[in-house]
């Protein structure tokens, strides 16, 4: 089966830096990683491939640096990697991004299954997966924590707040996955060297995918980001002093009150 995984390269550190004037995230000189739930999506696709056979194609839109994320995906086991990069893509919001991804998919062909991570750690909208499904005209199942595929029917368990929901659908469809769906694999040096030295990355710009200028970049964005800032963090701590027995008892009581332990 043909599987497509959409990934995004996000900043590695948990403390993202924001340009105080433009409000934009400062991307340079911060090392990038594959967005965590995208990595889970890729891992899931590799497991499906191992079980059902087929190919895994990884697709990403970003600056040239995003190539690193694709190499890592190839090292994990993806068969094909496509980088969508063009200055004209810069400033795209989720709508424009989904449009760009959709144009690339049109060029790549038909996929039985498309997987995305639930949301990115830097944008945190969780919109691109659903938007892409709409553009592709295929059904979507979001927040997936478990997949079962049998005879062309996919059964997915969705992880909602305080409940699970099981949904069934026929292929082709698109899934967005939660982090608890799996633990993604580590890559070894061997994998890295093969990915970097022997595999190819296909690189496409706006013209290669026939993207309409009005639908990409700032122009194609339906939303405008006004400001991005890091909120001041208040540190609240409680010290449980006293003899160990008493302190432990008080701590346990407090944790119970906060429902952190049963």
């Amino acid at each position: 089966m043909e599987i497509l995984v959409c990934i995004k390269q996000v900043p590695a550190s948990s403390e993202v830096k924001v340009d105080s004037q433009t409000g934009a995230l400062i991307r340079e000189s911060v090392s990038g990683i594959i967005n965590p739930t995208d990595r889970n999506a890729l891992e899931e696709s590799l497991r499906l491939k191992a079980k059902h056979g087929g190919n895994v194609t990884v697709l990403t839109m970003g600056p040239q640096q995003a190539e690193e994320a694709l190499r890592e995906a190839l090292a994990m086991g993806a068969d094909k990697a496509v980088l969508l990069t063009d200055r004209l893509f810069a400033g795209s919001d989720t709508a424009a991004t989904s449009y760009i991804l959709w144009k690339a998919v049109q060029k790549l062909g038909k996929f039985d299954l498309t997987l995305c991570g639930r949301e990115s750690t830097d944008g945190v909208t969780a919109q691109v997966g659903p938007q892409l499904a709409e553009l592709l005209g295929i059904p979507q199942i979001t927040f997936v924590r478990k997949i079962e595929l049998k005879d062309g029917v996919l059964r997915a368990e969705r992880g909602l707040k305080g409940a699970f929901e099981t949904v069934e659908g026929n292929l082709p469809l698109l899934l967005t996955v939660n982090k608890e769906i799996n633990i993604s694999r580590e890559i070894t040096i061997d994998d890295i060297l093969t990915a970097c030295r022997e595999k190819e990355i296909i690189s496409w710009g706006a013209d290669d995918i026939g993207a309409e200028r009005s639908k990409i970049g700032l122009e194609g964005s339906l939303t405008v980001m006004l400001r991005s800032y890091i909120p001041a963090r208040e540190k609240k701590g409680v010290i449980f002093a006293g003899p160990v027995k008493d302190a432990v008892r008080d701590l346990v009581q407090e944790l119970r009150k906060k429902q952190l332990i049963p």
Partner: protein
């Protein structure tokens, strides 16, 4: 001006050196491997008259004077063992009890302390602060004839050994120093912190839960605890210098011993200029450290205000200890990096001087405040 030691002083040095060699040096490597400080050790120190060095005979002390105390402490610190912290801390606190305690407190604690039945200790530090009295959260309130103490103290050396602990507490906006019996109800200790050097040093967190302290255990005047603390701490700093000095001398002697024994191409490495240079460097720094320490001990004995001199001495001497330990280890080559050689524990221990009993940053602040005023 006279830099000679009197006969009495030389004899005291020797007695301390012999004790260190016989009772502490064999114990040190064992403690480094995890053995606990022997519970009878304070008694041994007491019997050797090393626990009441600054107390008058009336209370069972030997009253040898502050300078001599430092001479003895330097010798006891030579094996570089946690054991030497006991005479250092205990004597300083005993002296403080003598100088600032009530007569009742002196009668209660000093005889036992001098004999080694009690181990005296002091603690200011809390989890939230090591240097700022305004941040103290251990409180004491006075009612009737008793203080009620509540709070947590951190890094309380000897805090789990029976005897009087000088606890620094806050009462509203003021600081008091109270003597707390370490076996009082409500007083408990954590297990000891595990340190990089001076393994086996009993240093605990202390929890005070409604501990009752009699009025007579207040040191000095109510509300004037900070002054006492400052005076007492400057003594502790000089003791810290003595500790660093003993360690530095040990580092030097080990380097010389090794350099004379180890050969390369048939000659002792002592003949190599690079080794000679290091040993010379070590020796000169140790000498400088010694005389600045002795001078400040002398000043304190004479009754001078030594806050500035003590800070200068501690800043200098503790850094020297670290540097000479480092150079000595370098002289030992790879052997210096193994636990089979004394220099390894010297190196690990040397680091504490610049942190404990007022970090070097604090000393710099003190010095610059004086010097720039």
């Amino acid at each position: 001006m006279n830099f000679d030691l009197t006969t009495e002083q030389k004899l005291l040095q020797k007695a301390a050196k012999d004790f260190a060699n016989k009772e502490i040096e064999p114990l040190a490597p064992l403690m480094e491997r995890g053995q606990a400080l022997p519970s009878n050790f304070p008694k041994k120190l007491g019997e050797a008259r090393f626990l009441g060095m600054l107390c008058p005979r009336k209370y069972g002390g030997s009253d040898i004077g502050y300078f001599n105390f430092i001479l003895v402490l330097e010798q006891l610190s030579y094996p570089v063992s946690a054991c030497a912290w006991i005479p250092g801390i205990h004597n300083s606190v005993a002296e403080a009890i003598y100088r600032f305690g009530t007569e009742a407190a002196k009668e209660k604690y000093l005889p036992g302390a001098c004999a080694g039945e009690y181990v005296a200790s002091i603690v200011f530090t809390e989890p939230g602060t090591g240097s700022d009295p305004k941040s103290l959260t251990t409180t004491a309130s006075f009612e009737g004839n008793t203080w009620l103490v509540n709070g947590t103290k951190r890094f309380h050396s000897l805090g789990n050994m029976i005897g009087p602990a000088m606890i620094v507490v806050r009462e509203g906006d003021f600081i008091n120093c109270l003597l707390v019996d370490k076996d009082s109800p409500g007083y408990s200790s954590s297990k000891s912190w595990d340190f990089m050097g001076y393994a086996g040093l009993p240093c605990v967190d202390t929890y005070l839960n409604n501990v009752r302290v009699p009025a007579e255990n207040l040191m000095g005047e109510r509300g004037k605890g900070f002054d006492i603390l400052v005076k007492m701490i400057s003594g502790a700093k000089i003791a810290s210098c003595a500790r660093s000095l003993g360690l530095s001398q040990a580092a030097q002697d080990e380097a010389v011993k090794y350099a004379k024994g180890r050969t390369r191409r048939g000659s002792a490495i002592f003949t190599m200029m690079s080794i000679q240079a290091m040993v010379a460097e070590i020796a000169s720094r140790v000498e400088a450290a010694r005389w600045i320490t002795y001078r400040v001990a002398f000043l304190r004995e004479k009754g001078f205000d030594t806050i500035l001199d003590t800070a200068r001495a501690k800043l200098f001497v503790t850094r020297v200890a670290k540097e000479v330990a480092d150079m000595s280890l370098q002289v030992h080559g790879a052997y210096g990096f193994t636990r089979d050689f004394k220099i390894e524990r010297i190196y690990r221990a040397a680091r504490e001087g610049e942190i404990v009993e007022g970090s070097s940053e604090i000393q710099r602040t003190i010095i610059s405040t004086y010097v720039l005023s």
